[in-house]
Amino acid sequence: MSTATTLIDKMVDRWGRRLVIGTPYLYLILVFSIPFFVVLKLSVSTSNDGIRFEDLTTFNDWVFNLTASFQKYRFLLQDDLYLNTYGSSLKFATINTLICLFIGYPFAYFMARSPVSMRPVLLMLVSLPFWTSYLLRVYAWRGLLDDSGTVNSLLIWLGAIDEPIKMMHTAFSMTVGMVYTYLPFMILPLYANLVKMDGRLIEAANDLGAGPMRAFWLVTVPLSKNGIIAGSMLVFIPSVGEYVIPELLGGPETLMIGRVLWDEFFANNDWAMASAVAVTMVILILFPLALFNKYQTAAVGRGTA
């Protein structure tokens, strides 16, 4: 009787555990791995009209054939357009990440040092923009930055300028939009990190002769390294592939890879090329970051971070 119950308990225990661990994996397989392999397959397939593809694998007379074409990848490497766009995507994502860090760090620091009773209010203010649609908020910037927009009208009315300053469809307007959109993703992980920091460590640094600035650079910043990394990843990775903001606020000089992808898919109807662009982006950007992340986790495990 009791052995039977324990056996059932064990079964429940074992399968329950598998279910709990398995669910996120299943989710990742469904929404990440499968679509990625579909895209990967498309990128090496051949097609006449760009949309209907020939089978990659054939199975005739007990002979298994795999036909993969790397022609799109070769084209991608030969055409300057793609490489330049990757470069410009990385550049704007880096600029965006750095600006978010410089604005977000003091913000998060201030939040973490504010009285406990104030913190929920400040946290709510940071996440308040999420309450309205992202698209609407990006559109709102057009209203602000247009030649006849609020900022220019105000400046002209004040007499500071005679002609409207060209802000829309420039690198400036796009960067403003990107920083505005991604700032909360920098602030929140930094705040979570900084709020846990033991204030006595700063006092210890002061006590040992480090002034407030020194203590900040020697203790606060190194100890918030994980928050800086987490926030920068959360901003950098989606920034690279950002499509909506460059499309709505950017101009000709802010060509980004998301735009190229869109054009290949919907304007050129070249799905294989679009897929090759997407796969290359994943390899170029995500693999180094994943490796870095893995190194970072290992370093934390060894206690050297």
Binding site: D198, R200, L201, E203, A204, A205, N206, D207, L208, G209, A210, G211, R214, A215, L218, V219, P222, L223, K225, G303, T304, A305
Partner: protein, 369 residues
């Protein structure tokens, strides 16, 4: 030069003068004055919220006093930020920098002083030898045991050769067994360096064993300041008698008051005490009697110079080196008695045993406040 040294040694090294710290309406430290001599280990003892930590933080410069002055070697340190004060603090639970190695932790303060590299290395080496952690120089704090972390913290404080060492609950994070060993080590290191030291603790044993002098604090004030044995044997108030060690307190009225002796009438009987109090006859006082200063015997005492009362054993506990009894006196009052086992064969009393409780006039203290 020698004359100069002599005068500074005579003048108080640290002077705390009518110091007050208010948080809102509450005075955490309330008009406190104190002189600390050079080379002294001074303990601030009190339960949590008594103001001892606030006082220590004012010394370190983390809190600004509302009123009063703190001076070191005759010069006020008020307004001087923590990083410029020639004093170093060992924080409760140590506050070692988790991202730096043991070596880097100890070197941290030296680097801030702009000491040349070679000199830093030599000084860190010296500190590591002193706390016997040379082998652990490259470890991170979390790879060390609690006792080792404590020694790193001490080395980090002493590396800068502070004029004043501040210790915040230095043994608080250690388990009981390690504490006893560590407190002697800590004192011997502090004494060998010769640094003046102020420590804060809520643990009376820690204060008594480590400090040269103790200030017992309550509600932001000093209740009594003195050497450990003075505070234990001559408490100045019911609060101190009760706070330090165990005590039996008897409330009564003053019956006789002469320069060299007095007598107190209590519900348990008359106590003869071997000191006078210059009070008025009939005033309310208390008699304090420590458990270990009481004798138990089955025969009626013949020596009339001692105080003696009848009693019955209610509870007994055998601790090996001593026994603790709870004895009910004739009036129904229960007192605690501790009997040291000086020999292997001692008489152990049992519950219900009727016996005599004795204490000499010298063992009693009369408390007025």
């Amino acid at each position: 030069m020698a004359a100069n040294l002599a005068t500074t040694a005579h003048k108080s090294f640290v002077r705390i003068d009518r110091l007050t710290k208010r948080f809102g309406d509450v005075a955490a430290v309330d008009n406190v004055s104190l002189d600390i001599e050079q080379g002294e280990i001074f303990a601030l003892l009190g339960s949590s919220g008594c103001g001892k930590s606030t006082l220590l933080r004012m010394l370190a410069g983390f809190e600004t006093p509302s009123e009063g002055n703190i001076s070191l070697e005759g010069e006020s340190v008020i307004g001087m930020p923590p990083h410029q004060r020639p004093m170093n603090m060992m924080f409760q639970s140590y506050a070692l920098f988790p991202h730096l190695t043991v070596w880097e932790n100890i070197a941290f303060g030296l680097k801030r002083d702009g000491m040349p590299r070679a000199q830093i290395a030599a000084r860190v080496e010296e500190m590591l030898n002193m706390v016997q952690l040379k082998r652990y120089a490259k470890r991170k704090p979390h790879q060390l045991s609690g006792g080792q972390q404590q020694r790193v913290a001490l080395a980090r404080c002493l590396a800068k050769q502070p004029k004043l060492l501040l210790l915040d609950e230095p043994l608080g994070a250690l388990d009981r067994k390690l504490r006893e060993q560590t407190q002697f080590e800590l004192v011997s290191i502090i004494k060998s360096v010769g640094v003046t030291c102020v420590l804060v603790t809520h643990d009376q044993e820690e204060a008594m064993t480590m400090a040269d002098r103790i200030a017992v604090m309550s509600e932001g004030r000093f209740i009594q300041v003195g050497k450990p044995h003075e505070i234990y044997e001559t408490p100045n108030s019911r609060f101190v008698a009760d706070f330090i060690g165990k005590v039996n307190l008897f409330d009564g009225v003053l019956a006789i008051d002469e320069p060299d002796h007095c007598a107190i009438d209590t519900p348990e009987g008359r106590f003869y005490v071997a000191h006078g109090i210059t009070g008025t006859i009939g005033m309310d006082v208390s008699v304090a009697l420590r458990p270990e200063k009481i004798g138990l015997q089955t025969e009626a005492p013949t020596d009339t110079s001692s105080n003696a009362f009848r009693g019955t054993v209610v509870d007994s506990g055998y601790y090996g080196s001593f026994s603790v009894y709870r004895v009910e006196l004739a009036g129904g009052r229960k007192i605690q008695v501790a009997i040291t086992h000086a020999e292997r064969h001692v008489e152990l009393y049992r519950r219900g045993d009727a016996l005599w409780v004795t204490c000499s006039a010298q063992s009693l203290v009369v408390l007025i406040s």
